[in-house]
Structure formats: structure tokens, C-alpha cells
């Protein structure tokens, strides 16, 4: 806790540190969500396709 409180006191460095963490989080969240959404979309698509194939 001591290190963290000391870090918050140094106001000139805080924005650089926090913004760099924020940027990495945003990038990783975007690629994770994007990948997961694509997988779900494709899974639905193949289920529909195989259903249609069976109907035929």
C-alpha cells in the first residue's frame, strides 16, 4: 500500500503509467471480444447450415 500511495502522490508520472495500462487493456479487450464474437457467429452459422442440410 505504501508504494501505491507514493505512486499516486507523484502526479506528473501517474497519467503516463495509467494511460499505458489503459491502452493495453483496451487493445486486449478489443481482440478478445472480437475473437469471441466471431466464434459465436460462426458456430451459429454452421449449426444453421447443418440443420438445413439434414432437412434436405
Amino acid at each position: 500500500m505504501h508504494y501505491f500511495l507514493k505512486f499516486l502522490e507523484t502526479t506528473d508520472h501517474v497519467p503516463y503509467v495509467l494511460s499505458s495500462y489503459f491502452v493495453v487493456f483496451v487493445i486486449l479487450i478489443i481482440i478478445s471480444v472480437n475473437s469471441f464474437k466471431r466464434l459465436k457467429k460462426l458456430e451459429n452459422e454452421i449449426v444453421n447450415l447443418t440443420k438445413n442440410e439434414k432437412k434436405k
Binding site: M1, Y3, F4, K6, F7, T10, D12, H13, V14, Y16, V17, S19, S20, Y21, V23, V24, I27, L28, I30, I31, S32, S35, F36, R38, L39, L42, E43, E45, I46, L49, T50, E53
Partner: protein
């Protein structure tokens, strides 16, 4: 043995088993890594509090290189053994590698401002990392540039093998040229030049990125396998 496990269907089965464990391990290591980075590591005597950027910048940089190396290995298997899973892996890994490279460049730039007094310099390390991003963009573009997927896979594999010359340049650029970028602190495991109290959060964050990367790669490989099955179903419909 290796080719037995490289079967796409077998890969999906194994990855589905591992996926939840990787998720849990990622969450634990990530939260613990953040705790260590902010609450349990001191400021640097020279750089002050900005050294905390290292815990996120360095793992991103390591993964940008490691993922490129894995793409190059897959490219070799794709070109020599024509293995489908290798082609699929290249497509799955490249966007993640590009993301890590973008993160490395941005966090490096943010770290550079308070440390060097500038956001960007055309320094050997920074420029070669930017070239790595262009290589990733090239691989992604080539993979999707052709109607025939196999053609795109082939050209992307060739480009990634050509681009491997950039990896030693990135790694040793700080030793070969006079650059603003500091030399590697952890080049030898026997005597790293940073203290254990800073080394531990760095490795915990790296571990969390490893589990996250494995999860994203699993998801993307599964998507690519399904996409190929859909393509086959659609083409059989047309025929």
C-alpha cells in the same frame, strides 16, 4: 506424435479441455500481477514511478516477438509439410501478434515521453519494432488477399519466413547501434540487471499474458476451423 496432435479435430477437443483452466490461470495471474506492479514494487531510482510501465510494456514486446517466431515455425510446417493446422494457426496468431506490437509501440512511446523527453525517435529498436508491425499487417493482408485460401496461406507463410530476419535485429539492435533505448535487462537468467522485487511482477504479468494469448489463439483457431467447414459446405452446395 506431433502430427497426431496437429489434427484440427483433435486440437479442438484438447483445447476445449484446457480453455477453462487457462481462463482461471489468466485471471489469477493477471490480478496478482497488477497487485505486484502497483502495490508491491518500488519506484526506480532513475526513472521513478514510470518504471511501472515496464510491467506491461516488456511482456507486450516479448509476445510480439514470440508470436512472430511461432508464426515462422508454423510457416515452415505449412510450406514443407503442407499441414492445414499450421495455415490455420498463422491466420489465428497474426492479429494477436499485431495487437501486441501496437501495444508495445504505444506503451513504449508513452514511456519515452517522461524518460527521453520525446514520444518517438527513429531509433533502431523502435524502427525495427515498427517494421514488425508492417510484417504482421502484410501477413494478415496476404492471407485474405486471394479468393483461394491456400494461395493466401502460401504467400503469407513465405512473407513470414522472409521477415524472420527482423527478429535478431529487434533483439540485438540496442547492442549493435547507439540507441536511446536501454539495453536488455534480462538477457541472461543468471544475472539479470533488475532487482527480484521488480522481476517477479514482470514475470507474473508475462505469465498472465501467456494464458490470455493461449485462450485467444484457441478461440481464433476454432473459428478458423469452423470457417473452413462452412466454406466446404457452401462449395458442396454450389457444386
Amino acid at each position: 506424435m506431433m502430427f497426431k496432435f496437429a489434427n484440427p479435430n483433435k486440437f479442438v477437443k484438447i483445447s476445449e479441455l484446457l480453455f477453462p483452466y487457462f481462463n482461471i490461470l489468466f485471471l489469477i495471474s493477471f490480478i496478482y500481477g497488477l497487485y505486484l506492479s502497483f502495490f508491491n514494487s518500488p519506484p526506480d531510482y532513475l526513472q521513478g514511478e514510470t518504471v511501472r510501465i515496464m510491467y506491461i510494456h516488456v511482456p507486450c514486446a516479448w509476445f510480439s516477438l514470440m508470436l512472430y517466431s511461432s508464426i515462422a515455425i508454423c510457416s515452415f510446417f505449412s510450406l514443407v509439410f503442407r499441414h492445414t493446422l499450421a495455415d490455420i494457426a498463422i491466420r489465428a496468431i497474426a492479429p494477436l501478434g499485431a495487437s501486441f506490437t501496437i501495444a508495445t509501440l504505444i506503451t513504449g512511446s508513452i514511456w519515452g515521453k517522461p524518460t527521453w523527453g520525446t514520444w518517438w525517435v527513429w531509433d533502431a529498436r523502435l524502427t525495427s519494432e515498427l517494421v514488425l508491425l508492417f510484417l504482421y499487417v502484410g501477413i494478415i493482408s496476404l492471407s485474405n488477399a486471394f479468393e483461394q485460401k491456400s494461395k493466401g496461406d502460401k504467400y503469407a507463410a513465405i512473407l513470414s519466413l522472409v521477415g524472420i530476419v527482423n527478429l535478431p535485429i529487434i533483439k540485438w539492435s540496442v547492442d549493435w547501434w547507439n540507441t536511446l533505448h536501454q539495453p536488455a535487462s534480462i538477457s541472461k537468467f543468471s544475472s539479470p540487471s533488475i532487482d527480484t522485487i521488480m522481476l517477479v511482477p514482470l514475470f507474473v504479468m508475462t505469465l498472465s499474458f501467456l494464458f490470455l494469448s493461449l485462450n485467444i489463439i484457441i478461440i481464433r483457431i476454432k473459428s478458423e476451423i469452423i470457417q473452413r467447414k462452412i466454406d466446404i459446405l457452401n462449395s458442396s452446395k454450389i457444386n
